[in-house]
């Protein structure tokens, strides 16, 4: 925490700092995600820039107190622009020994460590596979340790309500949240509102959670436990109205917006899968926008129902993660063959197979680009930040309907669940995009193409005189009649490829952030945006000539990308995979680009990127 100024206060010291990283860690049943989200909302409302990293296990409730059951929520908030949830934490709240063990490694020296001392019995320690009590064995001496009897204090605060012990214990996360509000000098108002809304039919629980939080706040005030509290002034963001936004939420809002702007009914076919299900949860709320959500019997029905809806004239989407993408493959080929608009969201997670359901990865890129039988090109676009998901959704809908193609959106677990302040666009500033259904029976042919876009007409059932047949069999261009002639097939394959390739003329030329020419180009895509931005900023402040090109369009690639690459001596491609974009770039541009690859289910740390940058620029001797 870097100090700007210190303001002497009568009772406690209050220090003004520009940023902090705080992590709540506990059992999956301890409510850490709620606690973290509430703290996030409060600091966001106050005007800080934020970046969050929820990190939870795939198991809903692993055995209490064990290492696999630990759930964490990290928040980076600042009075400056920030791009990542932070490499290391300033404050760690550990609800039990397992949470401490799994998270203390990221706590900075002299960082604040708040532990629930009531859960450090021999039994708790054994469940966390600890042989000695860290609260007593001096292993935590390099931190500012605050042992707090969270359970006993919470029970004392709630004893008059007549709740059972278990219900009282479930409020202890709000006690801890109250302490954090005191520590960062924040108002409890928005969380009070949230509790009142959440428990509006359970007044006793509403009262208990509010009381627990206030008790935590008062405890800090009364005991002078911390002796210091912090103030992080609001960030200087671009003026406007803001709200806190996660990637999945942003995708959902983007689709509703596209539906409203195009006048098309939004249809979502989806099958529950982590970490994509929230898109379905979000969209199913928007019935007042005429949104049709269909929870299908499987991934295949999810996409094929969407294809049916698209055929009938819907703005059709399906959302999934890697294993579901694999199941949708054949239907994607159908969408290519019948040339219908369709948007497929792949919220990537660690694989192969079931892999790491709740952890992030970028390893579906090649699947998105090539994972179909035969020649089946599909435009692929990727979101860079949670808020960017909104704009990527709009772009996908624009391309799909203009070119009559399926479009794949790549997001990932980190973007899906992570949040950032999102500047709310003025609805009027988002342009309408026009969609035409074929109407004229005169000279109608199902595969008669628009000479500019090569799109075929969108001729929906119910239109008199346009009765026609489409299908997965190869067809004659123009008439759409089944046709197996060799030259026709080659022609159709080339048309489908040309149609997708031509989209490159319809996307803006790209310009790297930072230096536009120089020693090193960092070329990347997707959720690595934040960490790379922070690393590049830091390195450029040290005088390095670095450009950062973050690609939204992965197929087709921007037409001037080759020229951008040529203006740099070296190219680094950091990815959370084994080097998939790297493979594409080397093949397409014959560039000797270098990869930085991390496959741990976690995002890059800024430091990891900076180390690689310095290594490539010869700043540090690399270890052999």
């Amino acid at each position: 925490m870097s100090t700007i100024t210190e303001i002497p206060l009568p009772k406690f010291k209050r220090e003004v700092v520009d940023q902090a990283v705080i992590r709540f860690a506990g059992d999956s049943g301890d409510g850490m995600q709620i606690t973290g989200s509430q703290f996030t909302n409060t600091v966001a409302l106050y005007g800080n820039d934020i970046a969050t990293f929820p990190d939870y296990p795939a198991e809903i409730r692993a055995p209490a107190g064990t290492l696999p059951g630990v759930s964490g929520f990290q928040l980076h908030f600042s009075s400056n622009d920030i791009y990542t949830p932070g490499d290391a934490t300033d404050v760690l709240i550990a609800m039990n020994p397992a949470a401490l063990k799994m998270n203390v490694g990221d706590l900075k020296a002299n960082g604040i460590l708040i532990v629930n001392s009531d859960s450090f019995t021999d039994n708790d320690l054994r469940k966390a596979q600890m042989t000695s009590n860290p609260l007593e064995d001096h292993s935590l001496d390099k931190f500012r340790l605050f042992s707090v009897e969270l359970e006993r204090l919470t029970r004392r605060a709630l004893e008059h309500l007549g709740l059972d012990a278990k219900s009282m214990d479930r409020c202890k996360n709000f006690f801890a949240l109250g302490m954090c509000y005191w520590l960062y000098n924040r108002s409890m108002d928005s969380t009070v509102r949230w509790i009142e809304d959440k428990f509006k039919n359970k007044p006793l629980l509403s009262e208990a959670n509010k009381l627990a939080m206030k008790a935590g706040y008062s405890y800090c005030e009364a005991t002078e436990a911390f002796q210091i509290s912090y103030e992080i002034p609001p960030a200087h963001l671009t003026p406007g109205f803001y709200r806190n936004m996660s990637g999945n939420q942003a995708l959902a809002l983007g689709f509703v917006t596209a539906s409203q702007k195009s006048g098309l009914t939004l249809f979502q076919g989806s099958y529950p899968i982590t970490p994509a299900s929230d898109i379905l949860h979000e969209l199913s709320q928007y019935k007042d926008f005429g949104v049709i959500t269909f929870q299908a019997e499987d991934e295949i029905a999810a996409i094929t129902s969407a294809i049916g809806a698209a055929y009938a004239g819907a703005l059709a989407i399906t959302s999934t993660s890697g294993p579901g993408m694999a199941l949708k493959t054949e239907a994607l080929g159908l969408a290519v063959a019948v040339e219908l608009p369709l948007i497929v969201c792949d919220i990537q997670r660690g694989g192969p197979s079931t892999g790491l359901p709740t952890k992030t990865e970028q390893a579906d890129l090649l699947q998105a680009l090539f994972g179909r039988n035969s020649e089946a090109p599909i435009p692929v676009i990727a979101a860079a930040t949670p808020g960017d998901c909104f704009w990527v959704a709009l772009e996908a809908c624009r391309i799909a309907t203009k070119y009559m193609v399926p479009v794949i959106i790549l997001s990932d677990g980190y973007l899906a669940n992570g949040a950032e302040p999102w500047r709310i666009p003025d609805e009027k500033d988002i342009p309408d995009f026009t969609v035409h259904f074929a109407k004229d029976a005169e000279g109608f042919m199902p595969y008669k193409r628009d000479p500019q876009t090569l799109a075929r007409p969108w001729a929906i059932p119910g239109t008199p005189g346009l009765e026609h047949r489409i299908g997965g069999l190869e067809k004659k261009d123009g008439s759409g009649n089944i046709n197996y002639e060799p030259l026709n097939h080659e022609n159709m394959v080339r048309i489908r490829a040309a149609k997708v390739a031509a989209i490159a003329q319809d996307i803006p030329n790209v310009l790297p952030a930072g230096d536009t020419e120089g020693d090193l180009l960092i070329l990347a895509w997707g959720s690595t945006h934040g960490a790379i931005t922070a690393a590049v900023k830091s390195q450029r402040e040290k005088g390095q000539k670095i450009g950062h090109m973050h690609l939204r369009h992965l197929n087709p690639l921007p037409s001037n990308l080759g020229d951008v690459i040529k203006r740099f001596k070296k190219v680094l491609v950091p990815e959370l995979n084994m080097g998939q974009l790297l493979w594409v770039l080397r093949a397409k541009y014959l560039v000797d680009a270098v990869g930085l690859n991390k496959i741990q289910g976690r995002p890059f740390k800024q430091a990891e990127l900076e180390q690689k940058i310095e290594e490539m620029l010869g700043v540090k001797e690399t270890l052999q």
């Binding site: 019935k287 007042d288 094929t304 049916g308 009938a312 819907a314 666009p425």
Partner: protein
């Protein structure tokens, strides 16, 4: 049948539903008869041609849409019910028919078939059952009999077959019927009953593949066998069969029993068919009778219980209800929903 659609001004004819496409089924295939029956029935339904959509999967039967001059979608193997569900969800007013086969609907697409039926999506499903895989040249199908010798089972199939009607009734389909390719009159009548049903209508059509499984249904269709081996179910009529209409079916406890009329047994002792019975158990019992020695195979409408709202109507009604309650969605408000703050 969509009652919202007004009859067209010029009555449509069978010819209006024929396409210029060369029909590519083998000469003598039962599919021709089914195509002809459907092309005859469609003009009688009082629905505009542009409001018909025929959806299919993969297999011989699934070439059907190419030969119908309506909107048509030849999709991928087994998925026609899911594609059709998407169409109906968006456009409940369309008349959507699914053409499928025993492999398409019961093997690779079994999951979609049962889910479409339990949801009661307003689709008409024609399952062409020839008990064989034709388009892949003669492997056994999920309706092939046990010990069937085929290209993929030279020593006999060890699979037990599905009974398509029992499967559909087990999924609580609201309309379940069976007809036969060569019984043109009966087939057309059955199709009309299906068309009149609002919810999911499942029609198994026993169809002859004269190349890979010729005669699979001859025991039912040959002129001599027909009246002894087949019983035609008609609503509110007693279950009678036999060349001389001298046999009937009655309840004996919880079992069906074949009896000979006369000797003190009269028509009034027989089971009277109730296609509108709310309990699927009754239709299920009928669907199972052919397995028992001495029992005929039932054709006709086993079940037509149309008291369940269609899926697509419930889906769209929910949207209307939410709009009535909340008012139509306001995008500007949606974007600004939740906790917001202003940066100046």
């Amino acid at each position: 049948m969509s009652t919202a659609t007004l009859p067209p001004i010029t009555p449509l004819t069978k010819k209006d539903f024929q396409t210029d496409q060369e029909v590519r089924w083998c000469p003598g295939c039962g599919d021709y008869a089914i195509l002809s029956a459907v092309q005859s029935v469609f003009p009688e339904l009082g629905i505009k041609r542009e409001n018909f959509v025929v959806v299919s999967g993969i297999g011989c039967s699934s070439r059907f849409p190419y030969y119908m001059n309506t909107f048509g979608f030849h999709t991928i193997h087994g998925r026609a019910p899911a594609v059709a569900t998407g169409i109906k969800a968006l456009r409940p007013d369309l008349e959507v028919w699914v053409a499928t086969g025993d492999g398409d609907a019961l093997s690779i697409g079994g999951n979609h078939t049962i889910h479409m039926l339990r949801r009661n999506v307003g689709l008409k499903v024609l399952l062409f059952n020839n008990k064989i895989y034709g388009l892949t040249k003669g492997q056994y199908s999920p309706t092939s009999e046990f010990n069937k010798k085929t290209k993929s089972t030279p020593f006999g199939s060890v699979d037990r077959p599905f009974n398509p009607l029992s499967l559909a009734i087990g999924a609580e389909a609201t309309f379940v019927a069976r007809s036969v390719d060569v019984f043109q009159g009966h087939l057309k009548e059955t199709l009309k009953h299906a068309a009149a049903h609002k919810g999911s209508a499942f029609v198994e059509i026993l169809q002859n593949c004269n190349i890979f499984n010729d005669g699979a249904w001859f025991s039912l269709t040959e002129r001599d066998a027909r009246s002894e081996q087949v019983i035609q179910l008609e609503h509110a009529k007693p279950l009678i069969f036999g060349k001389n209409r001298d046999k009937g079916i009655r309840m004996n406890g919880l079992q069906l029993e074949v009896v000979h009329l006369g000797n003190g047994i009269s028509e009034s002792d027989l089971l009277v068919h109730d296609a509108h019975h709310p309990e699927p158990a009754y239709a299920f019992m009928l669907s199972q009778m052919e397995k028992r020695p001495g029992f005929p195979t039932p054709i006709g409408v086993l079940r037509a219980w149309d008291n369940l709202p269609r899926y697509e109507d419930v889906m769209n009604q929910q949207i209307k209800d939410v709009i009535a309650k909340r008012g139509p969605g306001d995008l500007s408000k949606l974007l600004r929903a939740g906790d917001t703050w202003e940066v100046k």
